[in-house]
Amino acid sequence: MTIDPPALATAAALIRQQDLSSRELTEACLTRIDELDEVLRAFITVEASSARQQADAADDLIRRGRFNGPLHGLPVAIKDNLSVANRVTTRGSALFRDHVADDNAGVVDRLAAQGSVHLGTTNLHEFALGVTTENPHFGICRNPWNHDRTPGGSSGGSAVAVATGMALGAIGSDTSGSIRIPAAACGVVGLKPTYGRVSTYGCYPEAWSLDHVGVLTRTVEDAAILFDAVSGHDPRVASSLDLAPSRTVSDLDSERPLRIGIEESFFFADVDPGVESVVREMLQSLADAGAQVQAVSVPSLSDAIYALTVIDTAETTAFHDEQLRHHGNEYGPDTRLLVECGALPSAVDYLHAQQIRSQVRDDFRRAFSQVDVIASPTLPIQTPRVGEPVIQVEGRERDRDGELMRLVGPANLAGIPAVSVPCGLLHEMPVGMQFMGPALGEAAVLRAAAAVESRYRLPDVPRRRATYG
């Protein structure tokens, strides 16, 4: 009989006590994949055979009293834009369907060094250039809470794998919300760290100055464990911060009252009333429990969407330039269009955008001199249906992709850490709450997320719905 895959921290303790083997855990995840993934399409490649071998090797070491690290024997999945040596790394693209990577991404090396079991690579929006994971080459990834709804993206496969127990944790990447959007849509915890805190070596670029690698897990403690395991300096990456690995797990239990900032004019403007109500109820609950909630101002956010639009599209196009020119017919229509759009901004637009970025960074820094974190909804809308590029909110049409990125993008622009944590259910779909913190303030955002988690624990995805939608 296979077990139900537990949370990552629970599994680590059971393995350490030798009450559970890595092989049993790995089999449990592989069974879930067998049961669910034909419909959900969370994985592009499942490495069942090598995962079993790695699990057996981990168990053998445990029997000899050796542990490689906090992830020893734990099955983890990796977004398929991160290279795994000698394995196919598709980047979600038909162009790279048979591409075998020469070496590991930095984060893959870290996972291996900490003893994790590599389950396989997860589905993503083609080249990570989109927020729905409707991948024309490897299948439409679906939300396990309702198969008609998008899981979000671009790290949609990673979020679905974690939400359904197909993996105990997963690695994603986030350029304009690509970890936090699917985390919110699928009801898991998603952490985008400070820019440069986790190596981007071997991560297929989207927009160099906005790209972050981070983690998706079922609980906040799991996110802290996985983030601590993969963070740290990588001299191969110019933007990598020369810092030792983080130690956020030990900070989660701090008793110090949280100071939570609320910025109304950007982060609560035009939010779906149902979503806003769930988030404000949680804020009130946090205040009732002792958190200090106060208004803050980040005036330059009014120009943030312009800056993000220009920087993201221009950097994407610069990277894809040669490839699109010669292989444009192998791109999906939406990713081809996105790369084409980046040819429209001028050099002056790009430099103005980088000036705005300086202002946004400085305004956030001033706000964080007053508060530990700034809270907002992760998404201003309810989770859209698959294949629905325009949505209706209170009778008004809105662009789905713009809405999904609207509240999460500023943290990429400023390079600050941000987490999405489930804070309620609305029409039987999860609602996510975002906390942003100062640069290197991962402990603060995770502590705030843990406070939410202590007041609301999202139920597991009902098995019937994960299977049948």
């Binding site: 444009g328 040819a343 103005h352």
Partner: protein
Amino acid sequence: MPDPTPIDRVRDRYPETPDEDASALQEHAEHLVSLRRSVRTSQLQWVEPALTFDPRGGAR
């Protein structure tokens, strides 16, 4: 001579851009203009862009 349309500008770089992308490119170009007009550029003149060059370690 009329101003080039967005698809003309994109085709300068990517000649194979299909006709079917014309309307979405036009829409994006209009969105970009609208966003640009909303920016308070008067406040930007003395702001240093978030780009620096470190001669010790390469471009950052």
